[in-house]
């Protein structure tokens, strides 16, 4: 059994760079790829690109589409591929979410992984001062 695949879909090269950063941390990710959608790209072309990307990373365990912003074109196109147990979409991708995908264990299902990555993304957004200088922050934390 392979791992759940991942496609990072973004406006511009953000997704590709998130993949590169995650690979610098945890090593090459053969089951993750990125699709960049330009501001003026044709929706049908973009849709075809995402379809091919899904096929590239799908090992039969399902594919998670990580998109940059809910309501944006990358998310809207990604949502066309939603299929129970085959394709899930999580929006608002950040680097910890990609690292979580990269380090997920092989047994986790697509559905559970999607939920874990949604939580990870939210938990990873912190006001750094509350952790780095707890004493100074106690007054207004």
């Amino acid at each position: 059994m392979g791992k759940v695949g991942g496609v990072i879909i973004s406006h511009g090269q953000v997704g590709k760079e998130l993949q590169v950063a995650a690979e610098a941390l945890v090593g090459e990710l053969s089951f993750v790829t990125a699709v960049s959608i330009g501001w003026h790209d044709d929706v049908e072309l973009a849709r075809g690109e995402i379809e091919r990307a899904i096929q590239r990373v799908d090992s039969g365990r399902g594919v998670l589409l990580l998109t940059d912003m809910f309501g944006g074109t990358p998310t809207n196109i990604a949502a066309m591929f939603l299929r129970v147990n085959e394709v899930e979409v999580v929006t608002g991708v950040n680097l910890p979410m990609v690292v979580k995908l990269a380090t997920a264990n092989e047994e986790v299902s697509l559905h559970d992984l999607a939920k874990e990555i949604e939580s990870q993304g939210k938990e990873s957004i912190l006001r750094a001062g509350t952790l780095l200088e707890p004493r100074r922050m106690t007054k207004d934390a």
């Binding site: 945890v26 910890p96 690292v99 979580k100 380090t103 990873s124 952790l131 780095l132």
Partner: protein, 92 residues
């Protein structure tokens, strides 16, 4: 269980690259390895990069390493060494 307390001495603290070294080293051992910041009451799994990063360890912070398993002694020695050498980084 074995416990070792160490102080982080490298300038950047447990930032991403240092955390990767710590995680990769920890993953070589069968023991469960936890890192605790007693000053904040936070504990992390030393084998998970995301968990380690959320400890927000900066220079000067004391980390308590708790190791449980059949290769405790080797893990304790290796991890102590990694912290003592500042993750192989310059003391900025």
């Amino acid at each position: 269980m074995r416990e070792v307390s160490v102080t982080v001495t490298n300038g950047l603290g447990l930032h991403a690259r240092a955390a990767v070294k710590l995680v990769k080293l920890s993953q070589r051992f069968r023991s469960e390895i936890l890192l605790t910041r007693d000053d904040l009451g936070l504990t992390a799994d030393a084998k998970s990069i995301l968990s380690v990063l959320q400890l927000a360890v900066t220079r000067g912070v004391v980390v308590r390493i708790s190791i449980s398993g059949d290769d405790e002694p080797d893990a304790a020695d290796a991890l102590r060494e990694l912290f003592l050498t500042g993750f192989g980084e310059k003391d900025l």
